[in-house]
Amino acid sequence: MSDTLLRISNLKIEGRSDETWMPIIKGIDLELKKGEVLGLIGESGAGKSTVGLAAMGYTRDGVRITDGEVLFDGVDLVKASLPDKRALLGKRIAYVAQSAAASFNPAHKLINQHVEGPVRHGVMSRAESEEDAIRLYERLRLPNPQEIGFRYPHQVSGGQLQRAMTAMAMSCRPDLIIFDEPTTALDVTTQIEVLAAIRDIVDQFGTAAIYITHDLAVVAQMADRIKVLLRGEEVEEASTEEMLSHPKEEYTKSLWSVRSFKRPAKPAIQTDTTPVIRLKDVNASYGQTPVLHDVSFDIHEGRTVAVVGESGSGKSTAARCITGLLPPTNGTVELDGSALPADFRKRSKDQLRQIQMIYQMADTALNPRKSVGEIIARPVEFYMGLKGREKRKRVDQLMDQIELPASEFYDRLPSELSGGQKQRVGIARALAAEPKFIICDEVTSALDQLVAEGILKLLAQLQDELKLSYMFITHDLATVRAIADDVVVMKDGRVIEQGPKADMFTPPHHPYTDLLLSSVPEMDPDWLSNLLEERGRDNVGDMATDKMA
């Protein structure tokens, strides 16, 4: 008996689109030993989740396995009968889904869903399994392990649900667990807790795992070996250390280098200049709930201010106050030293022109019924009053700036563009108004890393050429490192700390900034271990309870 647990050979999978079958996975081999953790990474559309599910002999609707075999402990899951497969699923192979909130049945208590597997597979009695569940909850450092199982899923927070789901996957002590992007939907500070918990429990029980993610730094913490996928094909596979230090393929190298993009720091601000945008003690509320408290910061000409914070910190609300979509209840927004009317409807055309915006979701930011040319031409016509040939000339020029040649793209509809190209059109539309100041709202978070890097480079280059000022809203500190000149950290509607980037990334920090900074996974495989040691084990559990309160 060998110690190979899972062997996938020459796996081919097709998916149906418009009545025809298109290949999704084009022949993948994979081998997993007992107790080993394999990281599966790739960009969106690489087919990582499909491979993960296929490792369980499962395909979603409209997807089918056409060739190859999935040998789990000697049983070919592709050919096995349904009852045979059912006997393995949940008992020896378990699954942890990306969205725990959606994957727990809302009609049953957590513990009832937990014990279902052991009881139905005849591994434990109900009482034994309930006790075991509480022990697992304890190990995963869930607050109130005795009681949390008796809650309904909607009564528990996202990070805790994700850990409860890991506990559920562990309930039968499986040989293999598939983790399908378990932390993607979580904030960085929550992500850490879940990562630590998962790694701990997998270590303790010696469970083999396939860890699927798009985040290199995360996979570096979790996996023994890493396999890189690109459009349904394997790029390369190696042990984690080797993969991080000596990637062989061009594609892998380019993935790695994304994180190293950094623009040179700019000289400090001259204190006597008027800032392009100044927020002075801005307060704002949605209905009766206050969301911003005395927010003040400046944005100077030609500089990028990154506004950082987790979801709900009020960073997007601040942007809405600047644009005038949400008039502040108190405080003012100044443009070039003079106060702007609070409501955008009362601003002059020129004031509106000076402040432009680029959105997170390029899909919803472009009117799907207009061609790229029309979208860019509208502000040219509206603000500059250009018509006919002159307008066309200006649009062509703008399209050159965003590196989408007009000859090819002018008549295309947004649906015919890729995500990165759409985002470029959004940039061109903002540039067409010839503004001084552009708000970039999470412009790269919906994009794959390589594409995101291209957008960041383009923005940096445009800033140098046109002396633009950016307000860069993001939750991703890697982006901040890459592009920001100054940083504003926000939490719960307040500015926690602000200053030039160099100051922000060197201690001493505000405790929250510190937590935020240290929670961002790094490419070092030992990063998580070191960090946990530094913070002390118990601390992590406490943080979880803090977040609840």
């Binding site: 497969k85 059912r86 008992k91 959606a102 049945n105 809302p106 597997g117 139905r120 909607h154």
Partner: protein, 318 residues
């Protein structure tokens, strides 16, 4: 909320009726009536009061079960010179018919609800199969057909060509239950066909939506048997949408009943309503309209309440 809506609806019905041109009394008695007779009728029916007073008098009456006096009956009574005390009230006229209509609706619901939900679930489970496609075409066709088309086809096949069921539903009081059921069968079947199609499509959509949710996939990946996935994981969550579907379709039944009753000459409220509309018997029209609206509103309200009750998120707040 439902009561408030009902109140507003009653106002609408009342004002709508009061927008009638000319004089009711004049209309009832015809052009040749003497002014004294007209005035007498007006006083008798309370038509000389201002509208708001009349509305509240009417509403107070309705709340006590007094729906007013039918014009047709009043007309008849004054013709033969009888004393006004013996006139039949609207309530007397409507009460037995409500019973009949409820019976018809009840029989329909008993047949249609299990049938439709069963078929809907089957179609959802085996979606894109031949069964699903055939039933899709079939339900679309029967939704699109006017009620009277379905009704006449049933008459043609089940009553005329094969004399299995009576095509006329002459129901009267004191009939044996089995006879009554037999006579109600054809109209009930016609209604069933129309309602089933709606209910089945809505059930199918609700179940498909549910089966696509990640927790169903999770249950399958936990190695649960298909039966358990459906009974234990899908059903508790399907209850809310299914209850909603049933209540909405029962509300829809209220409208369908009118045409079907006319086709089969079934002595229900719908038939009375249409007859009264034709002879412009305002109090009866008013009363029928109010009854239909009330049932409709109550069923919609019921749908809302039940779906809240069966939603775990709302049953177990944070």
């Amino acid at each position: 909320m439902g009561l408030l809506t009902l109140f507003v609806v009653s106002i609408i019905i009342f004002t709508a009726v009061n927008m009638l041109p000319g004089d009711f009394a004049q209309a009832i008695l015809g052009q040749s009536a003497t002014p004294e007779a007209v005035a007498a009728i007006r006083r008798d029916l309370g038509l000389d009061q201002p509208p708001i007073t009349r509305y509240f008098t009417w509403l107070a009456g309705v709340l006590q079960g007094d729906l007013g006096t039918s014009f047709a009956q009043a007309n008849f009574a004054s013709f033969v010179g009888e004393d006004s005390g013996t006139r039949t009230t609207v309530a007397d006229q409507i009460a037995p018919r409500i019973k009949n209509t409820l019976f018809l609706a009840g029989v329909t619901a008993v047949i249609a609800v299990p049938f439709a939900i069963g078929l809907g679930i089957l179609a959802a489970l085996y979606r894109n199969s031949a069964f699903d496609k055939v039933s899709n075409v079939f339900t679309l066709t029967s939704i699109s057909s006017p009620e009277f088309f379905v009704a006449y086809i049933l008459i043609l096949f089940l009553a005329v060509l094969n004399p299995w069921l009576p095509s006329l539903s002459n129901i009267y009081d004191g009939m044996a239950f089995s006879d009554r059921l037999e006579k109600t069968m054809l109209p009930a079947l016609a209604l069933t066909l129309v309602v089933t199609a709606h209910m089945m499509r809505m059930t199918r959509a609700a179940i498909i939506n549910l089966l696509a949710s990640p927790y169903i996939e999770m249950a399958r990946l936990k190695g649960m048997k298909p039966m358990r996935v459906i009974v234990h994981h899908a059903l508790p969550n399907a209850l809310a949408p299914i209850i909603n579907v049933v209540a909405l379709n029962l509300a829809y039944l209220v409208t369908g009943v009118v045409v079907v009753e006319v086709v089969f000459v079934y002595p229900g409220v719908g038939q009375l309503f249409v007859d009264s509309v034709k002879i412009r018997d305002i109090p009866v029209v008013q009363a029928c309209c109010l009854i239909f609206a009330a049932v409709y509103i109550l069923l919609n309200l019921l749908a809302d309440i039940l779906s809240i009750l069966s939603n775990p998120r709302l049953r177990h707040p944070k």
